[in-house]
């Protein structure tokens, strides 16, 4: 199938793009990497009447460290995948990116495009919530920061206004004494995951868990946090048993997966539990290493 006709604009500055977005509002769909939008248009699931192609806007492609790590929304995923700043300051993001589809898709797909698309099966929204990232939204007349937890608003929905574009994402550094892990399981390399998790674990001075964060993909209508499982680890000694118990709470109490073509609800719960246990063990190992190397 082929895309239905549309009006096409390819502004070469952010200012010009925001002007177009102010003029056309929801009638105009921003085209980032197009790795989700173009297939949807090929199938005519999406038939936008106006496309604003952001690919000529060079000022939206950058990775900078000033305080936190800032990534321009139009930065290509494969660039971030191989970037030293990302590896050093947002290792969870660095670990998650290779799980996004295939190399050919990551060469074109963008960090901001994937986040603004808000597909519950995608990796980057989960990473953003786990890391407390902030989204920079800009319109012709105003700009604001949106916390990751306030940005995702359900299935393929965000709290961006009709005249706003996502222009950058800010990732704070990992907290001290904190380890991380991103894991997902798919039937074949590059497929959508049947379940996946981003885990952060902060250790106290005595080796007990101080704080945990667990966020899941493809088990709800957006990134889903296992709040009770994370709370169960607070102040508890970091042991395999504690991780196992947390995994059970996450998969049985916190999560309410829908099931999909490749994984039933029960199987998604099972996978979530297995991944949670593994991810917590990995995050613990990394937190311990960090503590060791800093002392």
């Amino acid at each position: 199938m082929k895309p239905a006709p549309f009006e096409y604009y390819a502004p070469d500055s952010l200012e010009a793009a925001l002007e177009l977005k102010a003029r056309f509002g929801d009638d105009a769909k921003p085209l980032a990497g197009g790795q989700s939008l173009i297939p949807a248009m090929n199938f005519r699931v999406a038939q936008p009447s106006i496309l604003i192609d952001l690919n000529r806007i060079a000022e939206l492609r950058y990775i900078r460290k000033n305080g936190a790590l800032h990534i321009g929304a139009m930065t290509v995923q494969s660039q971030a995948e191989h970037d030293d700043l990302v590896a050093a300051h947002a290792p969870l993001l660095h670990e998650a990116i290779p799980n996004i589809a295939h190399l050919q898709i990551r060469n074109r797909g963008t960090i901001g495009g994937s986040i603004a698309h808000a597909d519950p099966a995608s990796e980057l929204p989960v990473v953003c919530v786990a890391l407390n990232a902030r989204m920079r939204a800009q319109s012709k007349t105003a700009e604001r920061w949106i916390e990751a937890r306030d940005f995702f608003a359900g299935l393929f929905a965000t709290t961006l206004q009709s005249d706003e574009l996502l222009v950058a994402i800010e990732f704070p550094d990992l907290a001290e004494n904190t380890g991380y892990a991103f894991m997902e399981l798919s039937r074949r390399s590059g497929d959508y995951a049947m379940a996946g998790v981003a885990a952060l674990l902060t250790l106290g001075g005595d080796g007990s868990c101080e704080h945990a964060t667990l966020v899941y993909l493809n088990v709800g209508d957006g990134p889903v946090e296992a709040i009770q499982a994370a709370a169960s680890l607070s102040g508890v000694k970091a042991t395999a048993v504690a991780f196992h118990d947390a995994a059970q709470i996450a998969s049985q109490t916190d999560l309410a997966p829908f099931g999909n073509l490749h994984a039933s609800v029960d199987y998604q719960r099972h996978l979530s539990a297995v991944l949670t246990e593994r991810a917590l063990a990995k995050a613990f190992e990394r937190a311990s290493q960090r503590i060791k190397s800093s002392s």
């Binding site: 549309f6 096409y8 173009i38 090929n42």
Partner: protein, 159 residues
């Protein structure tokens, strides 16, 4: 329908055409540029048959619009062999190791492997399988493709 002029370098040659914005790059290559070596399979980015190099990097030409390549540099499978009887070492390796049966997926696999093998002179089997994981082949079971990729690495990096 409004059309836009594009000028694009494909395999070192400049092509100039008028395109509708909704024209996919894969269809532009085949129908307007006349380069039918690039194959169209699934048209939603899963099969990899339409992979071409966009500014040196493998991308899906079914997930780009022709109008987006204005001013850029493309390479398609036609750019591999310098002349008809002089196959590129990568193509020669596929011929020698029986790396294809029906050949439908081959252009996409070659365009994926070219930059990969240029950057990885001595890849492991795991690395090769990961590199071509975004390219579906329904004939070979991949074994001979992996063999061909290993042979190609040797050929491409032997002076």
């Amino acid at each position: 329908m409004k059309t836009y002029p594009i000028s694009v370098s494909i395999n070192g040659k400049t092509y100039r055409h008028e395109v509708e914005p909704r024209l996919l790059l894969a269809d532009y290559l085949r129908q307007q540029a006349g380069l039918t070596g690039t194959h169209v399979g699934c048209e939603h980015g899963v099969c990899g048959a339409c992979t071409v190099l966009f500014d040196g990097k493998p991308v899906r030409s079914c997930l780009m619009l022709a109008v987006q390549v204005n001013g850029h540099d493309l390479m398609t499978v036609e750019g591999l062999a310098t002349e008809e009887k002089n196959l590129h070492p990568l193509q020669h390796a596929f011929w020698e190791a029986h790396g294809l049966q029906c050949g439908f997926c081959t252009p996409g696999i070659l365009m994926t492997l070219l930059p990969f093998l240029q950057e990885h002179p001595d890849p492991s089997e795991t690395e090769i399988r990961e590199a071509i994981s975004g390219n579906l082949c329904r004939c070979t079971g991949y074994q001979h493709i992996v063999d061909a990729a290993k042979l190609a690495a040797k050929k491409m990096h032997t002076p």
